[in-house]
Amino acid sequence: MTAIELLSRGPGRARTSRHPAWRGAVAGGLVLLIMAGAALLPPAWLDLDIHAVGVPPGPWHPAGTDSLGRDVAARTLAALSVSVTVGLTAAIASTAIALALGLAASMGRGADHVVGVLTELVLGLPHFVLLIMVAFATGGGTTGVIVAVALTHWPRLARLLRHEAQGVAASDYVAVSRALGRSRLWVARHHLAPHLLPQVVAGFVLIFPHAILHEAGLSFIGLGIEPHLPSVGVMLAQSLREIIAGHWWVALAPGLGLVIVALAFERFGEALRQAAAAPGGTG
């Protein structure tokens, strides 16, 4: 009696991960903080100050100043807001490409074949090489970075969505709905969309940290955001010379800021991906 009672009263599978809403609040709050901070930042704080060149972190400059006397903390905030904007735009575009191709693949065998080959082609090429090529071809700059990141980050998500869409389209429950008189459009709206939506959201959130990291990478090698704009990649590239001069703090703030933002979204996306599994753990 006790064994059965214990079993039936058990709490079920313990959740190992934190709730996605909590992690989403952290990631979203971080972005809001960055955007609001950058918007409210007095422009004078970004100016050069020849009286404060290479100052280590202290009460007046919490993250120090660089060799031109610019406040690193203020510049990091402005750079992160540029990175977040670029990353967000590129991630949205990339997710849209993945969704369009994933849906196209479920239309028919020919379309599926084309999408499959295209996906494997992009997946097969080294990520960063392709990024550099696209950024170079589009002439670099902010637009170049957005295009390059958008064109290189869709394949994994497209593959996942293609698999999901085909699974739903071939399912018994779609066949039953069709036999009960439901149109294709209705099936897409009521069966397909609810299955794909969590995957699309999780995919987008997971693309975002990659997008900002690669934006920084491209800017670091000089193919990304224009050097006069504050961006994390440009800041890190310029800090190389400063580190040699012993000014380690110039690299610390932008590096740390980038890692924190990327990590917050990575953890949010991971929690979403786990929660995207259908209720009851089936399907």
């Binding site: 399912s171 018994d172 429950y173 066949a175 039953v176 709905s177 069709r178 036999a179 009960l180 008189g181 439901r182 149109s183 209705w186 069966h191 609810p194 299955h195 259908a278 209720p279 009851g280 753990g281 089936t282 399907g283």
Partner: protein, 203 residues
């Protein structure tokens, strides 16, 4: 009266059905047996209009099967084997039941569907309960014949008896022709007025 004449179907080069004739009268419970791979499910899907035969034709009262349209569910429905795969795991039971139109109260009570299940998800029902829900949504006012493809294969003997007693009773009262596809000769002998057996074809 659902009739099939000279049905033929092949998967690539493998012919599974050839020259099949069949008639299912309203309110009749007809059994269909045969070894695995003999084409029972294929025949069921042809009869329900889910697939088109490569030769021969399926008629309902002498006319071709009407294509389902919004508000007009197919008059011949096919109930697949595994109820768990035949319902959308994200839908509530109430939504599943009203998929083909407003749920039929008499059919729901005949199949023993409790109002308390309505807010639950498919994963929160037992196998037998879900099998009944999966069947109940197919029963609509225009239903003439129901093809049940091994619907009780995953249920224990008690669940099986409970489901089939309720279903055959409902079909006889409503004049719905019932085709029970089953491996079990005992089950067919118990519930069906007559029974057909497909033989496996070589190759």
């Amino acid at each position: 009266m659902l009739t099939a004449r000279g049905l033929r179907h092949a998967y690539d080069t493998r012919t599974v059905l050839d020259g099949i004739d069949l008639a299912l009268a309203p309110g009749e419970v007809l059994g269909l047996g045969g070894p695995s791979g003999s084409g029972k499910s294929t025949l069921g899907q042809l009869l329900a209009g889910r697939m088109t035969p490569q030769a021969g034709r399926v008629r309902l009262d002498g006319a071709a099967l009407p294509a389902p349209a919004p508000g007009r569910p197919a008059p011949v429905q096919y109930a697949p084997q595994t109820a768990e795969l035949a319902v959308d795991p994200r839908w509530s039971v109430a939504r599943i039941l009203s998929n083909g139109g407003p749920p039929d109260g008499a059919a729901l009570s005949a199949l023993g569907i409790q109002p308390g299940w309505h807010d639950r998800r498919p994963s929160e029902l037992s196998g037998g309960e879900l099998a009944r829900v999966s069947l109940a949504r197919l029963i609509h006012p225009g239903l003439r014949a129901l093809i049940c493809d091994e619907i009780t294969a995953q249920l224990d003997a008690l669940e099986q008896a409970a489901l089939l007693d309720r279903l055959t009773g409902l079909a006889r009262r409503r004049g719905i022709g019932l085709l029970l596809i089953s491996h079990s000769a005992g089950l067919r002998a118990r519930y069906c007025t007559r029974s057909l057996t497909l033989v496996a074809r070589g190759g």
